[in-house]
Symmetry: C2
Subunit: 138 residues, 2 copies
């Protein structure tokens, strides 16, 4: 299962997007109380979003702002910001190379799994933060 950083990241970005004016009210403490977690967890994920160029913030200065319009932030952007670049499916390692199946299984699974992962990522790319906002406030 994909960890909850992705879902928390979407929550954070939704809060930032829906607080355009008065953005300095968005402290990590405030966000943490909405997400219901520790402020450091928020700052940690915000840091990843910042490195990915999705948000802007300044040490010592409260608040976070979007670096892009919600319609220009896809869920894939967010996913990749908080997810270490890894494959969706684990493949067991060191299968027996002296076995016809063991010898070929890794490259076979690599191919098949990456096509499935591609399907998932395409779907993530179709959805933007704006779609999330529309759904939240409809």
């Amino acid at each position: 299962m994909v960890n909850s950083r992705f879902s928390v990241a979407i929550h954070i970005l939704s809060l930032i997007a829906s607080t355009k004016n008065n953005s300095h009210a968005l402290t990590s403490d405030f966000i943490a109380s909405s997400v219901n977690t520790n402020p450091v967890v928020i700052r940690r994920i915000s840091s990843q979003l910042k490195k990915a160029g999705l948000i802007v913030s300044h040490a010592g200065l409260s608040g976070y702002e979007l670096a892009l319009s919600p319609k220009d932030i896809t869920l894939l952007d967010i996913y990749r910001a908080v997810q270490a670049p890894e494959d969706l499916f684990a493949i067991h390692d060191n299968p027996n190379p002296n076995c016809a199946v063991g010898k070929q299984i890794q490259s076979t699974l690599d191919d098949v799994f990456s096509s499935v992962q591609q399907a998932m990522e395409s779907k993530l790319q179709e959805e933007t933060l704006q779609d999330i906002l529309d759904h939240l406030f409809s």
Copy 2:
């Protein structure tokens, strides 16, 4: 990341499919040496495949056989056999209901995430064990 039981299950089924005759030679020990793990890990996953109706085996009698033709076993069947019925994406729990975003985020993410998961599962359903075999022995 999806655990390696899925990849091991595909490995097991590939071995069974490619050993139609002499199926009693397929002990969990032999399969384990191809996968490169402990025989109990193989028996544990085989047990799940058996419960899902994908393979047949008998206590005390060595060997495993497919219960269906490789073209009738989809990767989704295998995935569901070894994966507890769970969502692909975790959603953080207990968001603050006194916050406009916190109140709606779970149902919003439920909707969006399940459509993404659906895309992935559709792709898994398109691929069969026969496709894996074709790839393995091409």
